[in-house]
Symmetry: C2
Subunit: 602 residues, 2 copies
């Protein structure tokens, strides 16, 4: 396969997200199930214990499914599921696997997914949501597999494509064939959220034209890196770049070989291992690595934002250090949108399991002889149905946010320097920073409610509710801890107020999500006018309440922040002292309403 | 050991809880560590990364520990921990154990706990809390072990002692020596909460003077029974008792041999097995059993509430069927109090782990060079400190409720038939039915908050936060699903209102927990008068708010219930249609305040 053929799909995919993606057909790839197959895309459901409940539906479920997904997407997903179902490699073995065996099997399954070639280049531009759908289908099967696949292609591969330059494209075809297997090594033992404080170093040695990658101590070891534990042969390692004379140029990405691809033995100077059992996703081998003066060629600096001449001079087109830093981490930006979608999948699975159980489980009844399905109890409906509604709402939200992100990335790659493009970037960043916490926390609580609503049987591992909870859990803390992320959104909103107060700027945004704030603070004079449950079923009523609440919390936060500053706190203290409010305690606290209770208090 | 020696401690323990307990010294038992040992009961903590945070404490921690627990209890707990720490059988093996190995090891550890003889008869009456403390210490080590020990002695043993009669006491010494190993088989595949609907049968055959235990189908299989999966040789099996002629006398307990104690092979007619991996507590072998016309001697009916003559006539001193049923299940009654205490232990462990991590983990700071411990951030304090406070409050609550239960049981065994005794029973039942959900849910959410507050590192299995969450989880659903249990408390409260409205009865109770309701509905006219955070630190302010809220929810529930009944609903429908309210949606819903946020909204 020639290099340019291999590169084309990365470039195409990169118009869709900040990640590149290598997904063109090669000789010998297995053909996916024909899209023109005679199988109906939505066959009738088999008769069984659920038939009675399904027969009472007030709408035709097939029409809803077609409306929601469209026939092409349904067919695409069906092809993936059929392939996995019919391949013994994807059979769930009886009993539980050892950690080692599970990780090995996940690696083999990851390889097989490449062979299936589910995502064809010609389909990507017409249906960018297929990228999201593939990850989600793999996740519905097993999140360890989906994450392993995602980290190798979308995180490692795209980091090379988008942070590197032509001299690095030699790696890309090898990613597709899994000749090399990659990971993304940013987090260290002692630093996660504070990325700027990473302490791995890369010193340039002009005598050999090499970079020396070094971990000063264990606290600076790369840690938590997915794929690094057992299987990665290469890593994109973030380290502080030093030129001769000792000047530090900040965090840069480097391609570092970790293991011999034939033997998987560590390369000289690399101490690498598995960090052990986690709460979930145990098919994924998260690992650690320390580097003892590991030498790599100068060319393996990913030089999109800065490079070193053979003599050791640092050159960059980036003038501002903050812009530099943000470019280095640019390839992380789509992760939050993906995680929102992944969380929704977990919520959908859990709610389906719990509702099906509740429709067939009978307990108590009006007489000793007649027991009713527990789903008929208002309490059970009150526990589960809001999460069913949330699954639909968040599914729509996560898909539309993904498409907004596609628009943003197309602008970036097209070198769009307009004010609208910049504003769209800020708005999507704020939406993703709140949307990921909203989706992951709603899934976390929804799965827990589903598990409890299934009573004792919800505690049996075979129900998968435990795995879903465990596999969803990291969505709350990775790619930005939820509590930290929310501050990004509140900073964005406070910034709008400040710009309006100080410069008279109108509050509006490309996606119009903040335009209602133009009516701030007048909105705070509005009163809740609903007087019956029926009133609240008109969506304008809860929407007005939501707008009031946002304005109220913004005012409180803004005033508190100003008070703190006037009382002499520096920026760091001021933000800390009001962050509980800034972070929308009212909307997002552990103990308050992520999902409004469906019944009104009257 | 003579029979009467063995029986004495069961009787003593039964004055403390409804469970009996066999815990007297026998020849050859290992001596526990001397209580007069020279080791200080509270040695200084070793210097380490936590020293800086500890040095800033505003109070002496040893004084608090002594005040909270008392020196005797501290010594008792230290003895247990020292014994486990120094015994290689209790070492945590590196890596993860297979399910089989973990269950085998838990059985061996359970046996060793008996050999240590931690609970001495002479200490029990003076310090009944030691029973709770032993279970909690074992749980702090591993809940699988604590539950296994608890089920064999306090559940199986006490069921025989308190539901049987002298002819069954032959089993008791064998429990202590683990010659037999027991379980409590009530729940079936299709019935848990609705105990009356259990479908296992026991038909009496007067020709052989035997009872025939039979499971009509798989839905009637005993299921979830702890200890039954691998290790139980005997079970207390609940079945519907039929006399010749086909009359059913309701659910009764029977002693049924499950396995040969030498070979652990199932007895003829018993199909028994392990139900597989659970979300947690995987050292405990939960199992299922089906009985195919298994014959047991007539004498193995536990006949405290009803018996069969050799000819097949049913005889009972219980006149009322409801009383009969409740006597059969009487031995379950202390479970909820124990679970409240077990949940507190999990919360304490999780909060300790998270606070210690937060005091040493540094991230960000006022300058790039200076990072501050994350515990210094108001957000982190806001997330964790309310759970620390809850751990103290719930620890005190669960211990005092246990002592109230001891008083109740002493009355029961003393044949106290006073009105106060009956009212105390109802009040403790209502307190335990709300206290268990409050403690288990607070622990569930607290552990989750702790895990998330530790960021990525909170997701590593070695931190134990995952195990704590998984092991605490069944506390939310067993011994009465939390949501179902809460209805018991609300029924109690509504009953007080009804008795007051209809008969003019004064609202008061032995423990005075409901006396404030005597001021209902006038309390609803009270207004919140707090005007500053300082006001709210006076505990009378939140207490008044709590009283108002209870009255408000009671009024809403009471009115809704009356409306339902007036509109023609039968009792079953009326309760269902208002149960979301009755169940204190405002206090206990998934999305509202279990723990009030510590900061006021101004």
């Amino acid at each position: 396969m020639c290099l340019m053929t291999a590169l084309r799909p990365w470039a195409i995919y990169s118009t869709l997200t900040s990640c590149g993606f290598l997904m063109c057909k090669v000789a010998g790839a297995m053909a996916p199930l024909g899209e023109g197959s005679d199988d109906p895309v939505l066959p009738d459901l088999p008769r069984g214990p659920l038939h009675a409940a399904r027969a009472r539906a007030s709408f035709p479920w097939k029409e809803l499914a077609l409306f929601w997904e469209g026939p092409d997407m349904l067919r695409f997903k069906k092809n993936i599921f059929s392939a996995l179902e019919n391949d013994p490699l994807f059979a769930h073995p009886p009993g539980s696997l050892s950690l080692e065996k599970y990780r090995e099997l996940t690696f083999l399954r990851c390889k097989r997914v490449f062979e299936y070639d589910f995502l064809r280049v010609e389909d990507l531009l017409g249906s960018p949501l297929r990228v999201l759908a593939l990850i989600q289908c793999l996740g519905m099967y097993d999140w360890s597999l989906a994450t392993k696949f995602f980290l190798h292609t979308l995180t490692f591969g795209s980091a090379i494509y988008s942070s590197g330059s032509e001299r690095h494209f030699k790696y890309l075809p090898k990613i597709f064939t899994m000749e090399i297997f990659g990971c993304f090594a940013l987090t260290e033992v002692s630093h996660g959220s504070n990325t700027k404080a990473m302490r791995t170093t890369a010193h340039y040695d002009p005598t050999t034209e090499e970079l020396i990658i070094h971990s000063p101590d264990f606290e600076a070891a790369k840690f938590w890196v997915g794929n690094l534990g057992k299987t990665a042969t290469h890593a994109v390692v973030f380290a502080q770049l030093y030129t001769p004379g000792g000047q530090c140029h900040g965090l840069h990405p480097f391609v570092v070989q970790i293991r011999d691809p034939k033997t998987l033995l560590p390369m000289p100077g690399v101490m690498v291992g598995d960090i052990g059992r986690k709460l979930g996703q145990n098919g994924l081998d998260n690992g650690f690595a320390m580097f003892h003066k590991v030498r790599i060629p100068r060319q393996d600096l990913l030089n999109r934002s800065g490079d070193i001449t053979p003599e050791g001079t640092y050159v960059t087109h980036v003038k501002d250090a903050r812009q530099h830093f943000s470019e280095s981490l640019g390839s992380l930006s789509s992760g939050r949108v993906a995680i929102a979608g992944m969380s929704v999948v977990n919520l959908k699975l859990a709610v389906s399991i719990a509702l099906r159980f509740s429709a067939t489980r009978r307990q108590f009844g009006p007489t000793d002889e007649e027991e009713v399905p527990v789903l008929e109890y208002p309490m059970q409906q009150w526990r589960l149905l809001p999460y069913l509604a949330a699954a639909y709402a968040l599914d729509h939200f996560s898909k539309s946010l993904f498409l907004d992100l596609v628009e943003l990335q197309q602008g970036l790659l097209g070198k769009d320097r307009s004010a609208r493009q910049a504003e769209l970037g800020r708005e999507i960043h704020a939406l993703a920073s709140a949307g990921k916490p909203l989706a992951s926390w709603t899934a976390q609580r929804g799965i827990q409610e589903c598990r409890e609503a299934c009573g004792g049987h919800g505690y049996l591992a075979m129900n998968r509710l435990g795995d879903l909870r465990d596999d969803n859990d990291p969505n709350c803390t990775y790619e930005g801890d939820n509590s930290v992320l929310l501050q990004q959104t509140s900073n964005y909103l406070l910034g709008l107020l400040v710009r309006r107060d100080q410069g008279g700027a109108r509050i509006e945004s490309p996606l119009k999500t903040v335009d209602f704030l133009e009516a701030y603070p007048n909105l705070l004079g509005h009163r809740f006018e609903g007087s019956s449950p029926e009133d609240c079923l008109d969506s304008s009523v809860p929407l007005a309440a939501y707008e009031w609440l946002v304005c109220y919390l913004l005012r409180e936060s803004y005033q508190k922040l100003n008070q703190e500053k006037q009382s002499g706190s520096n920026d760091f203290e001021a933000r800390n002292n009001c962050q509980v409010r800034v972070c929308f305690k009212g909307c997002f606290s552990n103990d308050s309403l992520l999902i409004p209770a469906p019944s009104c208090p009257w």
